[in-house]
């Protein structure tokens, strides 16, 4: 089995050309950029934090994002985490789909996001904050948290604009637990970013400004149907940077800082993504 997996990975690496993706340096917010049709992006997202009065943890999520069509991107996530003085656990999976309902570019571009989650409560990936998510959730020992599996439906309305090199993205999040009779929970994420140069240089270079993009994100919970609002939940904000390594992967880093007592003081996020272009074209008869 290991041999087959190794062979598949090797075949993937040989057949496909890795390039930097057309994407913004966000970790939580989504823009309206979808995966190009036929491309597969493999991404690792890491999170490291030390909640006050809790144990430090590191979480890792691996994502496989595929451009099914020019207006539909589908993605599978697998998550796990390690907590100091505790244990290492696998958390579960997510299956996400994003659709562009309008087929042309507008000043504000909507994207509809539908995700099914099957995760235990030990999940620390913090890919979104909803409802009354707070620092106290991150102090629950793994043994207790992993025994509760939540199956949830997550819907997002993504609004995004590209203006003079800048991207401005607003996400409105709602989440429903499908296994427990809990109310709908809500959250938000906003992001703004820009490449450091808008024009490509005439020569290949490594540390060119055009390969770097920077911005900021703010995200947090909005309570639930019974108690909507900014209180009794957590909020974070921080800068974010990404570097497209020429002919290689994209790497990103973002420190997020807690904005109230329900939040962790600082969350450090990093990511590495690799896009394989036209992953299945080698199997098509028509391909040259």
């Amino acid at each position: 089995m290991k041999l087959i997996s190794a062979f598949c990975l090797l075949a993937l690496a040989i057949l496909a050309t890795p390039v930097a993706a057309q994407e913004w340096p966000y970790f939580v917010a989504y823009s309206h950029a979808l995966e190009e049709p036929g491309n597969l992006e493999v991404e690792f997202k890491g999170v490291q934090a030390t909640p006050k009065y809790g144990n430090a943890f590191s979480s890792g999520t691996i994502e496989f994002e595929y451009g099914a069509t020019a207006w539909w991107t589908t993605e599978v996530y697998l998550s796990g985490q390690h907590t100091s003085n505790d244990s290492t656990v696998f958390n579960g999976y997510r299956w996400e789909n994003r659709f562009r309902p309008l087929l042309r570019e507008h000043f504000i571009n909507p994207v509809l996001y539908v995700e099914y989650e099957n995760l235990n409560q030990a999940d620390r990936s913090l890919l979104e904050i909803v409802g009354h998510d707070s620092i106290s959730d991150l102090r629950i020992p793994n043994a207790a948290a992993r025994s509760v599996t939540e199956r949830e439906l997550e819907l997002k309305l993504i609004l995004s604009s590209n203006v003079r090199g800048w991207n401005i993205s607003e996400n409105f999040i709602s989440e429903k637990n499908l296994t427990e009779p809990e109310p709908w929970e809500f959250g938000y994420a906003f992001g703004v970013s820009r490449p450091l140069a808008l024009k490509a240089g005439s020569k290949d270079c490594f540390f060119c400004r055009e390969n770097l993009s920077a911005g900021a994100e703010i995200y947090g919970g909005l309570g639930d149907m019974d108690s909507f609002g900014l209180k009794e939940t957590s909020h974070y904000a921080g800068p974010t940077v990404a570097f497209d390594i020429p002919h290689g992967p994209t790497i990103g880093f973002s420190p997020s800082f807690g904005l109230n007592d329900n939040s962790v003081g600082a969350i450090f996020r990093f990511k590495v993504s690799y896009e394989f272009q036209q992953i299945f074209s080698h199997f098509h008869r028509g391909a040259r």
């Binding site: 050309t17 090199g165 490509a200 005439s202 055009e210 074209s281």
Partner: protein, 138 residues
Amino acid sequence: MKRATFSTWILLAASVCTAADTGWMKHVSEADRGRKNPYAGQADAIAGGSRLFVEHCSKCHGEDALGRGKRPSLRTKEVQEASDGELFSLLKNGYLKKGMPSWSALPEESRWQLIAYVKSLGEHGTTDAASPAPVGRQ
């Protein structure tokens, strides 16, 4: 004989469908159609566009821009004679129905560079003097 006729019809239909689908041109606004490429003919911009082409376009349209499989050539008469503004509109909006994604995440300046490069390639079959090899593959 019947099989041969059927195959011919299929091939004919496929070639009509894939040959220079210019349906996207109908959606170009007059304002976009009239836009001029600020980098047209500039060597530096063409070289930058060539790098962008290798990174973002060549896997679908081929390194020579002559198309790959069902992905169309960019060196047809229709594309080469399209106005700068029409190509800019195509890059901005994509043609999502037919699989061409929107490249609006690329800054406007970069999109104009790409157009300058594609235009520099010329129509396939005509003189190739202005057909620089993509920078990344030289």
